[in-house]
């Protein structure tokens, strides 16, 4: 309980992290209450499929029926961004969770045991890091067939090596600490030393980077969708909504902002989502470091 109060205190000291937490909380509420905020029309089978109102290729401005307007193909933008929040969380959290698990597992094995194991794991990461991440992700998506799941898989494959390296480096430094030697002298097993003594002291930079990176991952997923390599057409996904607006960004002659709503609204959602995670990353750094705490 006192810990919690301390966390809140740490948070309050940094107004930017309060903004970050608030943004992410708002997005979380949107995601959780998506069925209430944007109820799927009756007879709708897949709630992630954006309902469409006709087949006209020209976007329609906000009206009473579609409060944020419709995009190309008459997909409802409001419905799309609300349910797209869920997709964004799914992509960000699943990808980050998987990366952290893989990165921590391989990174700690490589860093703690060293030697030939380290050499093998690190050379594998070298191979992955040698490719430009987005290009490799595109190649994987194309090879596996575009869908949201392949986007997730592709992002996991291209992003884990960074984390494995980061964690390995921190573990290399931590395993030389005296308290690790002391734990060994106390009769702790390797597993216990890694999980209880080495990892808790070397994981902070990875956690902070992870929360910063969730935004970047959602951005990368949106980029893939924008390039037509993401979710199937009509799936609620911010990248997809921006892709729909590709032809309408410049508006019409004499009125460049004629179709502003098709690009600004999903764009703002992405912007605030990424911003929220970035600010939250800073907040995490303040909260998680026990050496900074209680001062």
């Amino acid at each position: 309980m006192t810990e919690l109060r301390l966390w809140l205190h740490q948070l309050r000291k940094n107004p930017l992290s309060v903004i970050g937490v608030t943004l992410i909380l708002i997005f979380a509420i949107i995601a959780i209450f998506a069925p209430i905020l944007a109820p799927p029309p009756e007879g709708h089978i897949d709630p992630y499929q954006i309902p469409r109102d006709g087949y006209s290729p020209v976007p329609q401005p906000p009206s009473e029926e579609h409060i944020l307007g419709t995009t190309q193909g008459q997909y409802d933008i409001y419905y799309g961004v609300i349910w797209g929040t869920r997709s964004a969380f799914q992509v960000g959290l699943i990808v980050m969770g998987a990366i952290l698990v893989i990165g921590i597992f391989l990174g700690s094995i490589a860093g703690y045991f060293g030697g030939i194991v380290d050499e093998i794991i690190m050379r594998v990461t070298d191979v992955f890091l040698a490719f430009p991440a987005l290009i490799l992700a595109m190649a994987i998506v194309v090879a596996l067939g575009p869908s949201l799941n392949t986007v997730i898989i592709a992002l996991i494959i291209v992003s884990w090596p960074v984390y494995a390296r980061l964690i390995r480096g921190d573990i290399l430094a931590t395993r030389e600490e005296d308290y690790v030697e002391a734990a060994r002298g106390l009769g702790a097993s390797n597993f216990r030393i890694i999980t209880r003594h080495v990892l808790p002291n070397s994981i902070y930079s990875a956690l902070v980077m992870a929360s910063l990176d969730i935004g970047a991952i959602v951005l990368a997923a949106a980029a893939l969708s924008f390039l037509g390599l993401g979710a199937p057409e009509g799936y609620a996904d911010w990248g997809q909504l921006i892709q729909f607006s590709r032809n309408w960004i410049v508006g019409i002659p004499g009125n460049p902002l004629a179709y502003w709503y098709t690009v600004i609204i999903p764009g703002l959602f992405i912007l605030f989502f990424v911003l929220g995670w970035n600010l939250l990353g800073d907040a995490f750094r303040d909260i998680l470091d026990p050496r900074l705490a209680k001062r």
């Binding site: 005296d178 030697e181 106390l186 009769g187």
Partner: protein, 387 residues
Amino acid sequence: MNELLKIRGLTVRFYTYDGVVRALEDVNLDINQQETFGLVGETGCGKTLTALAILRLVPPPGKIECGSIHFYPDSKNGPVDLLSLSEKEIRAIRGSQISTVFQEPSAALNPVYTIGDQIAEAILLHQRQELNHKALEAARMSLMKTGLVAKLVKPVRLAEKNLYQRLVHNEHSVWSRIVGRIPVLRRLLWRIRDEAGKIAIQMLKEVEIPDPERVARYYPHQLSGGMKQRSVIAMALVCSTRFLIADEPTTALDVTIQAQSLELIRRLKTEFESSVLYITHDLAVAAEICDRVGVMYAGSICEIARVDDLYANPLHPYTKALMAAVPKPGEEPRAIGGVVPDPIKLPPGCRFHPRCDIATEICREQSPTMREVTPGHFVACHICQGG
């Protein structure tokens, strides 16, 4: 007196790119029960490495080449050779039978756990069965409670009691492994941690830390150097260790705290009936606390004697030089001429001969063996005689 530890012919080498570092060469050492044995010498002479070798913690690329370390865990059973135990067996000995206090107390404590948690860890690692019994007892006690709330939570308490009963019955059953390993289920075993915490607080009281209940909840950075050192000592002794290795435990402390720590170690040693291997470079501290002292030079022991004997009548030229080098008021300290030899290119014969005033031909050719010159006083030197 009964023996506790018998080191014979211990040789440790480091295989580095520059060549083979002969870090320890044919070290022979006996430590008796309830004795404090001091190991003194210059920096880098192999004192700490000897300690690490006893625990089989020599860091790579170091290797224990040969020798034996016989340890007598209790008076009934025979000795075990620490060097031939399996990794699992030696782990059971580390921290319970033999434990260590390291030089830098602030580095030896993990910054992310409270003091209480860290002391409790040693108990959790080695005294699981005792803790299981205690937890079962506590669960039974809480079952006996009467009242409305107690009635409501009775099924939970019953399940809890059964769980602990299982653990007591079979410590290594599949069930206990599942519960013990999975993070969320591990919470079920909170009574065990609770009991370990109580022992930890008891131990903090033992090492004379004021207000132990509060200090147990502190993180290492909130404590002073002396308090940290006491906590480290508490951690080492909490499993009623038979043999404590203290590796320069007072070096990082100021003189008043140093005196307190020495007093504490002395008192606890008697209380727990354990032996101490006290490693230090401070001859005064060694004289203060030790029963017997071994002097080390460049990876081998050159003189072992009872403490009063050694200080009154040092025999080995290195011991004499070391004592002369201690600063005394009104006198210029005399440094030992020459430098410590490179452990890769050790001089042939006696390792000390290039710096020795009385070295002769034989010292340059043959390495000396340990001789008992007077009862209990061993020296490895060709020249010096007893008496």
